[in-house]
C-alpha cells in the first residue's frame, strides 16, 4: 500500500453537460514503473489524464500522493508535485527556440532581461543527464515531430517532473522515432522516473510497460502485470460489447460502383503520410464500414472524398468522374450527402432556424423556388414533414437549432442529408454523443437508404455500430487499410480488435479484394 506514489480511489467525473466520463476509476502508480493506461475512444482515458494533471477536478473520489490525501487543484499544483505531462498536441510556440520554449513561465533572469546563458546551461545539464540530444538554439518550427516530443519531455523534466504522463506519444512518430523514444523512456525509468503511458497500441504496451490498467466505459477493468498477459487477452478486456444492437437487414444485391478510391495517399503538415495507398470501392446498395481507432486517417480520408482537401496523391472517382477538379458544391450536386462528425461546427448553423438548416442542400432546387423567390409554403411544409418524420422534438420549425438537445440536432442533420435520396451517403460518426433512442432511429434511416440503393460509407469508432450496420468492413490503422471483410459476418469483435490495435494485419492480396471484388 505504502509503495504507491500516486493512488486514485473511486474517481467519478460528471461534466456540466451531464456526461459521466469516469464512473468509477481506481488507479495505483508504483514509483519507478512504466504504467500503461489503455482503452477505446471515449472510455475515459483523457478525463483521467486531465484529473491527474489538475486540469479537471473529480466530482467525487480521492487522490493520494505518497500516501497522503491531496487535491490537484490545477496544473501549477501538479507541476509543483512533480507531475509533468507530454500532450499529444505539442504545447510549443513554433517561432521560439527550444530554449525559449523550455524556460517559458520560469525564465531565469539577470536584471530585467532573460539570462539565456543560464537557460542554456540548465538545458545542457539536462540533456547530458538524460542523453536527449537537442540543440537549445534551434527554432522549434524547424524540428521534426520526434524532436518536438523530446523538447516536451525536457520541458517537463526541467520543471522537476518525477512522474511523466505521456498521452499517446507514438501516435505521431515514425517507427524509428518510436524506438528512440522507448530507449529514452527506459533511461528515464533507470533514473528513477515514473511514467504513465497512455496508448491504444498494445504491441508498444507489451514492449515497454511494466503494468497496464484497462479502462472501459468509465470503469477500470483491472490492472495487470504486462508480462502475465498476451496482447490478445488485453484486447479482449478492452474491446467487447455489452449491448448488442440488432437490426433486421434484408440481403441486398450489390449494385454498380459509385465511389472508387485508388492508390490514395495524403501527407500532413509535418510531411508524414497520414494516408498511404488506400484502395476501395463503394457500391450501390451496400454499407461499407470503416472501423478503426480514431486518428488513424479516417478524418482525412473523408475530407478528401467530400472535396475539402485537394492536395492528395492518387484518385477518387465519383461515378466516372475524378473529384480532383470538382468543388464541394459540384460533389453535392452529384448526389453525395454527408453527415459530418462535428455537427455543431460543420453540420448546422446553430443560430439559424430549424427550417433554415433543413434546406441547406436543396435551397436552390426548383421545387422550393418560385422564380426568384423561395416558395415559403413549400419550404414550411417540407420542414414540418421532415421534423415529424424524423421525429425531431421541438416547438416549431422557427426555433433556433442551438436550443435543441444533441440528439435532436443530429436528427436535423440526418433528415437533411438522407431525405434527398442520395446516391452516396458519407456518414461520419453518425451517432456520437447521441442518446440511445436517437441512435437507433438514425441507424434505421441509414439501413433504409441502403435498401433503397444508396451507397453508404460509414466511419465509426464505435465497433458495435460498425459491425451491426455494415455489409462490408474495412479496418484502418496508421493511415493504411489493414483488413477487409467482404461480409462483416466473416469476422468478430475479437479479431477486429486485433486489427484495430495493429496486432494483426491481412496480406496485400486479402486487402486488395476491397477494390477487386466489390
Amino acid at each position: 500500500m505504502d509503495n504507491y506514489i500516486l493512488e486514485l480511489k473511486n474517481i467519478m467525473k460528471l461534466y456540466n453537460n451531464g456526461v459521466v466520463a469516469n464512473k468509477k476509476v481506481n488507479f495505483e502508480l508504483k514509483e519507478g514503473e512504466i504504467h500503461a493506461i489503455v482503452g477505446e475512444n471515449g472510455a475515459g482515458k483523457s478525463t483521467l489524464m486531465k484529473i491527474l494533471f489538475g486540469m479537471e477536478q473529480p466530482t467525487s473520489g480521492e487522490i493520494f500522493f505518497k500516501g497522503k490525501k491531496t487535491n490537484i487543484e490545477g496544473s501549477d499544483k501538479a507541476i509543483e508535485m512533480g507531475i509533468g505531462m507530454v500532450h499529444q498536441h505539442f504545447m510549443l510556440v513554433p517561432s521560439f527556440t527550444i530554449a525559449q520554449n523550455m524556460i517559458l513561465g520560469m525564465e531565469p533572469k539577470k536584471g530585467i532581461s532573460i539570462d539565456y546563458n543560464k537557460a542554456t546551461d540548465m538545458i545542457k545539464d539536462l540533456i547530458k543527464v538524460y542523453n536527449l540530444k537537442v540543440d537549445p538554439n534551434m527554432k522549434t518550427e524547424d524540428l521534426s515531430v520526434g524532436m518536438k516530443q523530446k523538447v516536451e519531455i525536457l520541458k517537463a523534466l526541467l520543471r522537476g517532473a518525477k512522474i511523466l504522463i505521456l498521452d499517446e506519444p507514438t501516435a505521431v512518430l515514425t517507427p524509428q522515432e518510436t524506438d528512440e523514444l522507448f530507449v529514452q523512456l527506459k533511461k528515464l525509468k533507470e533514473n528513477g522516473h515514473t511514467i504513465i503511458f497512455i496508448s491504444h497500441k498494445l504491441r508498444e504496451v507489451k514492449s515497454i510497460c511494466d503494468r497496464v490498467t484497462v479502462i472501459k466505459k468509465g470503469l477500470t477493468m483491472g490492472t495487470y502485470n504486462v508480462s502475465d498477459m498476451t496482447e490478445q487477452e488485453i484486447s479482449n478486456i478492452m474491446i467487447g460489447r455489452d449491448v448488442v444492437l440488432k437490426y433486421d437487414k434484408r440481403k441486398n444485391e450489390k449494385g454498380e460502383a459509385l465511389l472508387k478510391v485508388e492508390n490514395l495517399s495524403y501527407k500532413g503538415i509535418e510531411g508524414n503520410y497520414i494516408l498511404k495507398d488506400i484502395n476501395f470501392t463503394l457500391n450501390r446498395g451496400n454499407i461499407l464500414g470503416i472501423a478503426g481507432i480514431e486518428g488513424n486517417g479516417q478524418r482525412e480520408l473523408i475530407s478528401i472524398i467530400t472535396g475539402n482537401k485537394k492536395n492528395y496523391e492518387g484518385n477518387v472517382f465519383l461515378g466516372e468522374k475524378s473529384i480532383q477538379k470538382l468543388s464541394i458544391g459540384e460533389i453535392k450536386n452529384y448526389g453525395m450527402s454527408y453527415i459530418p462528425e462535428d455537427r455543431m461546427t460543420d453540420g448546422v448553423a446553430k443560430e439559424a432556424f430549424i427550417m433554415e438548416n433543413l434546406i441547406g442542400n436543396r435551397y436552390k432546387s426548383s421545387e422550393l423556388n418560385n422564380g426568384l423567390l423561395f416558395d415559403m409554403n413549400k419550404i414550411n411544409k417540407l420542414s414540418e414533414e421532415l421534423v415529424s418524420s424524423y421525429d425531431v422534438v421541438c416547438k416549431d420549425i422557427e426555433q433556433k437549432v442551438e436550443s435543441l438537445s444533441g440528439g435532436n440536432i443530429q436528427k436535423i442533420v440526418v433528415a437533411r442529408e438522407c431525405s434527398i435520396d442520395p446516391e452516396v451517403l458519407i456518414a461520419e460518426q453518425p451517432t456520437r454523443g447521441v442518446d440511445v433512442g436517437a441512435a437507433h432511429f438514425i441507424h434505421e434511416e441509414i439501413i433504409k437508404l441502403r435498401d433503397d440503393k444508396t451507397a453508404v460509407l460509414l466511419v465509426s469508432a464505435d465497433l458495435n455500430e460498425a459491425m451491426e450496420l455494415s455489409d462490408s468492413l474495412i479496418v484502418m490503422f496508421e493511415g493504411k487499410i489493414v483488413a477487409y471483410f467482404e461480409d462483416v459476418k466473416e469476422t468478430d469483435e475479437e479479431e477486429l480488435g486485433l486489427y484495430m490495435l495493429g496486432i494483426k494485419r491481412q496480406s496485400e492480396e486479402e486487402i486488395r479484394r476491397a477494390i477487386d471484388e466489390c
Partner: protein, 306 residues
C-alpha cells in the same frame, strides 16, 4: 518634375518625415505589442484623439507641459484598459469594440472641448503647453545630419528610444516572451502556468500608453492645440504599418516611416501649388496600396505552403 525632386531631396523633407512619422510610429508600436499578445487594439485612432485632448486639458489646467504629457498617457492607459475589459472579459468583438472606442472619442472629445471652451473646433482658447524641442549637442553642428536629426520634439526622441525599448521588451525580457507565447500559442502558454488574461491586459494597457504618447505629440508637439478629429486616420495607418511590418519591430518602424514620408510629401506638395484636397489623400492612398501589396504577398505565400 525637377522641382518635385528638389523638394524631396532636401534635409527639410527628411526632417519633416521624421516629425510626421512620430505619431504613426507610437501607435504602430502600440499595435505591435497588442497584436503580439493576440489581442489587437483597433481603438488606437480614438485613443490617440482622446489623449491629444487629455494632454491639452491637463497642461492647460496645471500649467505644466510635463503633467500634460502624463495626463495624455493616463487617458491612453485608461481608455485602452476599458477596451480591454470589454474585449477580454465581456468578449466584445475586438473590431466592434475598437469601432465603439473610436465613436466615443469622436463625440466625447468634442463634447468635452465644448464644455470646457465653448468651442467645438479647436482648443485655442485654452492656455495649453507645448513639449520642448531639443537641439542635440555636437550633432546639431554637423552639416545636413544636424539639420535632420537635431531640433526635434522631445517625444520624437522618445519614440526613437521606444523602438529599441519595444525590441528589447519583446526579445529580451520574460514579459516579452510571455506576450509572444500568448499570441502565438495560447495553450502552450497556459500549460506552463502563464496567466493569459493578465498578459493580454498588460499588452493592451501598453498599447494604450503608446497611443497616449502619440496623442500628446499631436496636440503638444506637432501643433500647440487640440482640434477635432486631429488624429486624422493615423491610428488606422498605424494598424496598416504594423501589418506590413509583419509583426517585427524593424518592419513596423520602416513601414511607419514610409507612411510618414507619404504624409510629409503631402505637406510639401502643398507648397508646389497642387490642390490641397488631392494632396490630402496621399497618405491614405499609400496605406491602401501598402496593405494590398502586403495582402497579395501573404496570399501567395499561403498558397505556396499549401
Amino acid at each position: 518634375m525637377n522641382s518635385f525632386f528638389d523638394t524631396i531631396f532636401t534635409s527639410d523633407f527628411v526632417f519633416s518625415t521624421i516629425r510626421v512619422t512620430t505619431p504613426i510610429l507610437f501607435a504602430a508600436l502600440g499595435a505591435l505589442i497588442s497584436n503580439k499578445a493576440g489581442s489587437p487594439n483597433i481603438g488606437l485612432e480614438g485613443i490617440m484623439l482622446m489623449s491629444a485632448l487629455g494632454g491639452v486639458v491637463f497642461s492647460a489646467y496645471t500649467g505644466s507641459a510635463f503633467i500634460g504629457l502624463l495626463g495624455a498617457v493616463l487617458v491612453g492607459l485608461i481608455s485602452a484598459s476599458i477596451l480591454a475589459y470589454f474585449t477580454l472579459k465581456l468578449k466584445t468583438d475586438v473590431i466592434l469594440g475598437g469601432i465603439a472606442i473610436n465613436f466615443f472619442a469622436d463625440g466625447g472629445t468634442i463634447f468635452l472641448l465644448y464644455y470646457l471652451t465653448g468651442d467645438k473646433g479647436t482648443s485655442s482658447s485654452l492656455p495649453s503647453k507645448v513639449l520642448p524641442n531639443i537641439d542635440l549637442p555636437i550633432i546639431q553642428n554637423i552639416p545636413v545630419l544636424g539639420d535632420i536629426i537635431s531640433g526635434h520634439n522631445i517625444l520624437t526622441y522618445v519614440a526613437i528610444i521606444l523602438i529599441i525599448g519595444v525590441w528589447y521588451l519583446l526579445n529580451k525580457t520574460a514579459t516579452g516572451l510571455r506576450i509572444k507565447s500568448v499570441g502565438e500559442n495560447e495553450d502552450a502558454a497556459k500549460s506552463v502556468g502563464v496567466n493569459i488574461m493578465k498578459v493580454r491586459y498588460l499588452a493592451m494597457a501598453l498599447s494604450g500608453v503608446f497611443a497616449g504618447l502619440g496623442g500628446a505629440f499631436l496636440s503638444m508637439g506637432y501643433v500647440s492645440w487640440f482640434s477635432r478629429g486631429m488624429s486624422a486616420g493615423r491610428g488606422w495607418i498605424a494598424l496598416a504599418a504594423e501589418a506590413m511590418g509583419r509583426g517585427t519591430v524593424l518592419g513596423t518602424t520602416l513601414s511607419s516611416i514610409l507612411f510618414g514620408a507619404a504624409d510629409a510629401l503631402s505637406n510639401t506638395l502643398q507648397l508646389l501649388g497642387i490642390p490641397s484636397e488631392l494632396i490630402s489623400i496621399i497618405p491614405y492612398l499609400a496605406t491602401v496600396i501598402g496593405l494590398l501589396i502586403y495582402a497579395i504577398n501573404n496570399t501567395k505565400k499561403r498558397k505556396l505552403k499549401e
